[in-house]
């Protein structure tokens, strides 16, 4: 039994906002105050410390084919950051595209205990799970990508009933060991294979004639009817295109009131005002999020510096390839399933567009009123490496610091943004909401993201420091399932993380249709496609943690 004594608890799931109290940990879980006389094996006296559940990143590209292409492509990212093994830890390298060990250690050192790979192509799921199996300490989970796969598009083109789609979606979650469904540029990745270069929400797909709106409506309905906790995770059409705010609003409407999560919404909040025909539409997007209770979002904040963009959105990545820096890029059509595009990129504060992107992201954070519906992400590594989270947290919590940084960006961008007029400073409670309680609730992780009795003992203890960047960079203690894994920003124990999954019920009748489809068209047999729970462990996971199918409470 471990006792964490006298810390200030920030536990929004139980509406606890800085109350001083003790936490007791036994067998990897938070337990009730033990009876007097019960032996405490280890006591941590932490008066004044800030105690939160382990942080959860619900959108970070840490594993899978496209990440590994980014690694192989960028020795520049690895040469100067390589580190040797220790008695405890493996060697590794990388900042924008870190090696698996580097990613696991750094996340844990920052107080994160779960990371979700948001773009797992079913045809590449094995690979993603193997990489995540080599990502130590943190738990992992994946979102299976649908909406550009020929099986679904054919079903829709044939006017299949919703139930069949639902069965297919559920089967996909089982077969790929995933926890949620993602759609990237609905229909657009497939359309690019037919040489289409754009696909707006109401534009019919060049071959199947279905629209992105119909794909969104079908998949949001499937997710809803299967009671998958996490809303359909949507990377909307027209990423990065000036004026795409209209697309983003149309995407919200396409959900027809059902839950929908808009990911890296910063890249989808652009207007066309001003001389440069590029402006912030953060106000209208934030207002729409506030107005639609069915909508949640993560921001995808950009930070200045070198990174690499890795996305399933081949249509957009091909368009952006001309901005590649260093000047190299890769796009790939994948397995009648989806695609991927890798484009290295450097965001510069002296560049008007980049500077405005930075301001738009911060505006979104500060304008969306409900922290339960906006999550802290940089869309690692697309907006910035995840290691910039502490800096981002300081920007949100410290108006003076934010103003200082605003003064350094391209002056026209600063002038075009209303960031200076936004006085909001996030509280520790709100940070705990957006990095713990809200993502756990959104994903349906009943025993994570909070400090209540029965919760997994994923706990982060910070020294309260007015320099929030410093504070969030190196927590004093990080516990994973009750074991102390990091102390003062250094790994002290390496454990193996589990994989969060969901397994909705479905009618196995769909397998006959799938078997026929695989046998006719695929280069892998139907029997060899699904990943079993046993194979997941072979991939490197500790175990599959199966979560219940139930819609999160509003």
């Amino acid at each position: 039994m471990i006792r964490l004594k006298g810390g200030r608890l920030y536990d929004p799931a139980r509406r606890i906002d800085g109350k001083v109290g003790d936490l007791f940990v036994h067998d990897g879980h938070i337990v009730a105050t033990p009876a007097p006389g019960m032996a405490i094996d280890r006591e941590y006296d932490i008066p004044g410390r800030v105690v939160m559940a382990g942080a959860i990143d619900l959108h970070t590209h840490i594993g899978g084919g496209k990440v590994n292409i980014a690694r192989a492509m960028l020795p520049e990212d690895h040469r100067d950051s390589a580190f040797a093994r220790t008695d405890l830890t493996r060697s590794g390298s990388g900042v924008a595209a870190p090696s698996t060990f580097a990613a696991g250690y750094r996340y844990a050192e920052m107080g994160y205990t779960a990371c979700f790979e948001p773009a797992m192509l079913p045809s590449n799921a094995r690979h993603a799970h193997m990489e995540m199996g080599d990502t130590p300490i943190v738990d992992k989970g994946g979102y299976a990508m649908l909406g550009n796969d020929d099986f679904l598009l054919r079903l829709m083109a044939d006017g299949a009933e919703q139930k069949l789609v639902n069965d297919y979606v559920a089967w996909t979650l089982h077969a790929t060991q995933c926890i949620a469904i993602k759609v990237v540029n609905p229909g657009g990745i497939s359309a690019f294979k037919f040489n289409a270069r754009h696909l707006d929400v109401d534009e019919p797909h060049p071959h199947y004639r279905v629209t992105p709106r119909a794909i969104l409506a079908t998949l949001t309905r499937a997710v809803h009817e299967l009671a998958i906790p996490h809303a359909l995770h949507v990377h909307a059409s027209n990423l990065g295109v000036p004026g795409n705010a209209a697309t983003t609003l149309a995407t919200m409407e396409a959900a027809e009131g059902l839950p929908i999560h808009l990911t890296h919404v910063q890249f989808h909040s652009y207007g066309t005002e001003g001389e440069r025909k590029f402006s912030s539409a953060a106000a209208s997007i934030a207002e729409a999020i506030d107005r639609h209770a069915n909508v949640s979002a993560d921001v995808g904040q950009i930070m200045f510096g070198q990174t690499v963009t890795a996305s399933g959105d081949t249509m957009v990545q091909f368009r952006n390839a001309r901005h590649a820096l260093p000047d190299k890029w890769l796009c790939m059509d994948i397995e009648c399933d989806a695609g991927c595009g890798i484009v290295p990129f450097r965001y510069r504060d002296s560049n008007f567009v980049n500077a405005l992107q930075w301001a738009i992201g911060l505006e979104l954070f500060l304008r969306v009123k409900d922290p339960w519906r906006v999550f802290l992400t940089t869309d690692h590594p697309n907006g910035a490496p995840f290691t910039s989270y502490p800096h981002l947290i300081r920007l949100l919590m410290d108006k003076g610091f934010r103003d200082e940084k605003l003064a350094q960006i391209h002056p026209d961008a600063a002038a075009h943004s209303q960031l200076a007029s936004l006085n909001r400073e996030y509280s520790l409670y709100e940070i705990a909401v957006m990095t713990r309680a809200a993502p756990a609730r959104s994903l349906g992780l009943a025993d994570r993201g909070h400090l209540g009795i029965g919760a997994a003992a994923d706990i982060t203890v910070y020294r309260d420091d007015p320099d929030r960047e410093k504070m969030f960079s190196a927590p004093e203690y990080v516990f994973k399932d009750g074991e102390l894994v990091a102390q003062d920003g250094r790994i002290v124990k390496v454990v193996r993380g589990a994989t969060h999954v969901i397994r909705p019920d479905f009618d196995r009748g769909i397998e006959k249709r799938l078997r026929d489809y695989f046998d006719r068209y695929h280069t892998i047999r139907f029997d060899n496609f699904p990943i079993s729970a046993e194979e997941l462990v072979e991939c490197g996971s500790r175990e599959a943690l199966v979560h219940a199918c139930a819609r999160p409470a509003p």
């Binding site: 690694r71 690895h78 060697s91 590449n124 094995r126 040489n195 890769l330 994948i334 280069t523």
Partner: protein
């Protein structure tokens, strides 16, 4: 009655013996011996069946020893080495995971026997990149396939049967058209032969050939009457076919482009295909995966940040394996093919090989079981995207490469 042995039959078995990883093979097992009875190829028939009755005895300095002794001797060699080189010539993801950790532990280097070929492509990826596709896309979409400098079927016997033939497809592909820049393979399916064209060209001149195609595509007028020995008229015709294709693919096998600066030839192909995409879709297919080479590339990349040739001489991983003349010990793993033997040398060498491998000259030989036959595992396919889960069809008394390597690692770690 004891000699009546029931054969056990397996369907849809993944075959680990070439990069295609065909997973529709039918195999029977009788007394531990595998026979391919359907959907095989010359390679799979031989390699599934091979070595079933070969003695599988560990050797140390040429003498039979038990496994523990061989492990101990291997660990001793690695501990004594200042610059060990650990090479895969065929092991699965699990084997690579331990191989890398062992190299890290010993401050050595890790590499794949096909490293030269892998880096012909990797240098292009690290310099300029490409736009590519995968096998199922080709199967269902490609109406034109241009094959540069390889016959394909020598390394990937069932490629045309599975990826580019006359079968039902998701999308209209018409009468598929095939061009070889080089020789047409003898074993091309008859149905394709009538749709096949070829241009005689020396692959070492691909750089100028594709640069010329790109110039023609960009509407430049070329003064030469021929490029790389190919008449301009033929270049123009090829270009027209490529432009007319709905979904064209340009494929090569880096292992077959064994000439100086082949990476520049590959780069020239990739830059041309990128340019084509300004008006239409066209993709490249860099084929690999032989001897689990792409598996080695994938695992080294995600574990260290650097592909395939990685050294830990300074503790931290760095790109590049030690030069062969600097190496003072070698560990070589070939669990798929007993014919894939280590390079000769006069340094201490540890060989983990499939039973039946002739490895007399090595310091330590440890026979290992075969992934996809004796144990489950993962390998990467020719397109470097799809990982296949291999199956265990029969038990084996031998350790897997990963198990043997783990025992060596554990012994190296012991205080001494």
């Amino acid at each position: 009655m004891s000699d009546i042995v029931r054969a056990q039959e397996f369907d849809n078995v993944p075959c680990p013996f070439c990069g295609l990883l065909c997973d529709d093979v039918r195999v029977t097992m009788t007394k531990g011996a595998a026979t391919v009875i359907a959907n095989g190829c010359a390679k799979s028939r031989v390699l599934f069946a091979a070595n079933a009755n070969d003695a599988a005895i560990a050797l140390a300095d040429g003498k039979p020893v038990d496994l523990a002794t061989a492990i101990g001797r291997a660990a001793q060699i690695l501990r004594a080495a200042r610059q060990p080189l650990l090479i895969s010539a065929g092991t699965d993801v699990a084997g690579m995971r331990v191989l890398i950790e062992l190299a890290e532990r010993c401050g050595g280097s890790v590499d794949h026997a096909n490293g030269d070929a892998l880096f012909r492509n990797l240098r292009v990826l690290q310099n300029t990149g490409w736009i590519s596709t995968t096998l199922a896309e080709i199967r269902n979409r490609a109406d034109l396939l241009v094959v540069a400098g390889t016959g394909i079927t020598g390394r990937f016997p069932r490629f045309f049967e599975r990826c580019f033939g006359n079968f039902e497809t998701l999308f209209e592909v018409g009468a598929r058209e095939l061009w070889f820049l080089g020789d047409v393979p003898d074993d091309l399916p008859a149905a394709l032969r009538s749709r096949t064209r070829s241009l005689a060209i020396d692959p070492s001149r691909f750089t100028e050939f594709f640069a010329a195609l790109r110039a023609l595509f960009s509407a430049h007028v070329l003064k030469e009457k021929a490029v790389a020995g190919v008449p301009i008229g033929n270049l123009s015709e090829l270009l027209e076919r490529m432009r007319a294709a709905r979904y064209g693919v340009l494929a090569w096998t880096a292992a077959d482009l064994a000439f100086p600066h082949a990476d520049l030839a590959i780069q020239s192909m990739c830059e041309f295909v990128k340019a084509l995409n300004s008006e239409k879709r066209f993709s490249v297919l860099p084929l690999g995966g032989s001897d689990a080479d792409l598996t080695a590339q994938q695992v080294t990349t995600w574990q260290t940040g650097f592909p395939v040739r990685v050294n830990f001489n300074g503790g931290a991983p760095a790109q590049g394996a030690a030069r062969r003349d600097e190496v003072d010990a070698m560990l070589f793993v070939s669990a798929l093919d007993a014919g894939r033997t280590p390079p000769s040398g006069n340094i201490p060498s540890i060989v983990l090989g499939r039973a039946g491998m002739r490895a007399e000259g090595c310091s330590v030989f440890i026979p290992v079981s075969v992934p996809g036959l004796h144990h489950a595992g993962h390998l990467y396919r020719a397109d470097n995207v799809v990982a296949i889960h291999l199956r265990k069809l029969a038990g084996s008394a031998l350790p897997s490469a990963a198990q043997a390597l783990q025992r060596i690692l554990d012994t190296v770690r012991e205080p001494h």
